[in-house]
Symmetry: C2
Subunit: 473 residues, 2 copies
């Protein structure tokens, strides 16, 4: 437990801007983006790796539990303290000094507290960007801790694929700094240690600096809403697009009618793009893009998309029932409003699942068939990243539903959905949100003992102190 | 040490095809692709993961040292036994049964003994391939153990990027099988354990099955030899190509005059493509490709390449001195002959280095300036993967050179080159060949103690038995 003496000592290490203890000032650090409200003993805000190292070492030597927090935009209670009031938040929000661009190498070294939006704003003049496309605006260190993917995974991959190097503070008595800080794309001289800090919610160490791979900004983009002939035609449509568009294809996002309806109902600025306002059962947002400027003699990208859609229209499989080519900002506005929209429909019970691509629509059909019997009066509002197998499987319960009176209902529903996803479809219960208190029980249940033991051992080898909201062992 | 009793017991587990003990029959398993000749106590050839597990468990319980071997095409003595005659080779060459393609998911599950060529031959009818392009023809398990990159890294990445799942046999008393065997592209539910088996030379476990990401086969390709205005113009040329060609660019390979001359002199089928037969100081092989068939209205890829080169020709930076667009098979024939060619020039001392992209040519210039004073009468024949920072930095010593009489000469030269690469340029001493006995000393010297300790601990947690030719601890 932290006391006045510890507060004074930590303030000496971090300066008066480096520690927050006021109840109101701590509130933002205690509150998760979607669920939960915890209680912090204090919030530490180191401005450099050296400060982080000193503070972490102090806390470990004094048995103080630390929860690392970056942008606090995560959705699984991975970066907020529990309710005990004994955990100290270690925030990256002042780690925003270093920004060392290497345009020749297409890479940048940044402090882990940088916001994604600020990073990309600074990169824009060089026509470069960090190619992870998200609705939220996290800090880079948190993106590493969750290994997030986003809407353009299909083209650019996840955070793991775009990390060249890390600097990490271990939760040991020395606050050891590991410099895994390579700018190299090819380097096979031992264990690639940075991998164990990616997607592991800060439990093995606190990322304070990153070297990121950058990609060239798209300069031409064409988008369309595609209406598949049926749910069974979604995958053939994806394959037909991949066959004809290859590396042009930068998004292939699925949206259910219910999710779209939620967005249209609750985000008044949105235009209903569908003829007669009739939202189809399922809609694909397809995007193609190129990173170079238009050239003489080259077919414009809109024309490429139209001619490919016309060709797919004619194929024997006939996966396409309708297509509406529209300007990117309008098309994406609907996609980005889905999260907000479904929240307004009632109490949201959200799942971040992934499957083999061939199983996504089968799983969703399975749910649509069985859920109404098992849990009457819930609405399925799924949307997701069909191109890479991810699905944000959302279940909404009307706010006045008697189901909500049953304390066990949500837990029961969650376990039922996850069991089918993991056991019947060999899917993942956390595609891109990683682990937090919210899904700890699923980790405990589905992880083989052998892997838990290796994880516990690795934790002892790296960060034996109390670190993070997740128990891996 | 292995004795008759152990041989009998292992033969019972693996059948008579599953164990080799004849001196002549073992020779191919004892001989490295480039360096060294070891001596095996026996060669085990399990045909299934279960057999591998049983054999490995038996060996660990009896203190028998194992060296895993896949295609044995590695270049750092990572997969051959040492000279003691006490190590047993565990070969994957009979692990070639399972081939389970999932075209919807663009993935395949294969036994780790599959040859890259055989895998791609089977995938061809589906217009898919495993996108690692190499001169050699390794088995998949070995590609995982080295995390090899190859000539199209720029577009498709390395093995790590293209592995979805692994099955691994640990060297513990039970021969524990870890099923890290996901077909998922997004899965963040704990430590991504497969990462510790990628690029670590089989020291932490033996990969027996893999799930691989597949890409669509290129259907259009255009290639050219580009002559940069000078060494300093190589990087501006790369950037100009990336700016104008984005995801089309699938190779940007550098070749020094000496390396080309070696290939032309020793591979008689090669055509000298350069005007008047005059080989330029440095040549870039550039390739662009698309995975779709030619379409009406779309500019052919040759024309795209030509118009982009014309545009680059006109830029103020003027990085391009000459360009020869030629058919892919002829252009690549020269590139693929380089390794063979330089071997014929004399005694080859080969380095597999990588740098920030901006440092490659600077490093090579540094070497060209200083090496003649330090090591007179050696020839530098470098070539490499400029687009991703890799360089096969080859030094050739004339076979009759008195230098070769000095036993310490090669060691001395190696240490001098690596020290400059790693200490002055922050490069890597093993870009894509991973670790083996050949570069163990560099691992020992350049790896921080803390990381060696964590590696030793991880080894105990996973494979406490004697496994692999590399000591990580």
């Amino acid at each position: 437990m932290i006391d006045e003496h510890h507060i004074d000592a930590l303030e000496k290490l971090l300066g008066d801007k480096g520690i927050v203890t006021g109840r109101e000032d701590m509130e933002a650090y205690e509150t998760g983006a979607r669920y939960d409200r915890g209680r912090a003993a204090a919030v530490l805000r180191p401005a450099t790796t050296e400060e982080a190292s000193a503070a972490v070492g102090y806390c470990v030597r004094n048995g103080i539990a630390l929860v690392p927090q970056a942008g606090n935009t995560g959705l699984v209670s991975g970066s907020t303290p529990d309710g005990s009031g004994e955990e100290v938040v270690l925030s990256l929000d002042r780690l925003t000094r270093r920004f060392a661009l290497d345009p020749d190498n297409r890479s940048v070294r940044v402090d882990a507290g940088f916001r994604l939006s600020e990073l990309n704003r600074r990169l824009e003049e060089y026509e470069l960007f960090f190619p992870i496309d998200l609705g939220a605006d996290p800090r880079i260190g948190g993106m590493v801790a969750t290994n997030t993917g986003g809407s353009r995974f299909l083209k650019y991959g996840d955070v793991r694929r775009n990390i060249l190097g890390l600097k990490v503070v271990l939760a040991d008595e020395a606050g050891t700094v590991l410099d895994l800080h390579s700018d190299l794309r090819k380097n096979n001289t031992g264990v690639d240690w940075k991998q164990i800090f990616i997607g592991t919610s800060g439990a093995f160490g606190i990322v304070t600096e990153c070297v990121l791979n950058l990609e060239r900004l798209p300069k031409q983009t064409a988008t369309a809403f595609l209406v598949p002939a049926s749910g069974a035609h979604v995958l053939p449509l994806l394959k037909a697009m991949e066959e004809r568009l290859g590396a042009y294809l930068s998004a292939f996002e699925g949206m259910s009618k219910n999710a779209i309806a939620g967005a249209l109902a609750h985000v008044p600025s949105l235009k209903n793009p569908f003829p007669g306002g009739n939202v189809p059962e399922y809609v694909i947002l397809a995007e193609i893009s190129r990173s170079w400027a238009p050239r003489d003699g080259e077919q414009p990208l809109d024309a490429v998309l139209e001619s490919v859609l016309a060709e797919i229209w004619e194929t024997e499989e006939a996966p396409l029932a309708d297509a509406l080519v529209g300007p990117p900002h309008e098309v994406w506005a609907l996609r980005h409003a889905l999260s907000e929209g479904v929240k307004h429909l009632g109490k949201l019970i959200a799942f971040d699942l992934s499957f083999r691509r061939g199983d996504i629509m089968t799983f969703c059909d399975h749910m649509k068939a069985e859920m109404p019997q098992k849990f009457p009066a819930v609405t399925i509002c799924d949307f997701g990243h069909i191109g890479d197998g991810g699905v944000h499987f959302n279940v909404v319960v009307a706010k006045d539903s008697p189901l909500l009176a049953d304390a066990a209902f949500e837990q029961h529903l969650r376990e039922w959905v996850v069991a089918i996803a993991v056991e019947q479809y060999h899917g993942s219960f956390s595609a891109e949100h990683a682990l937090g208190r919210r899904n700890q029980a699923f980790y405990d249940f589905y992880t083989p003992e052998k892997l838990k033991n290796i994880a516990a051992g690795l934790k002892t080898l790296t960060s034996p102190g109390k670190l993070g909201s997740v128990r891996f062992g």
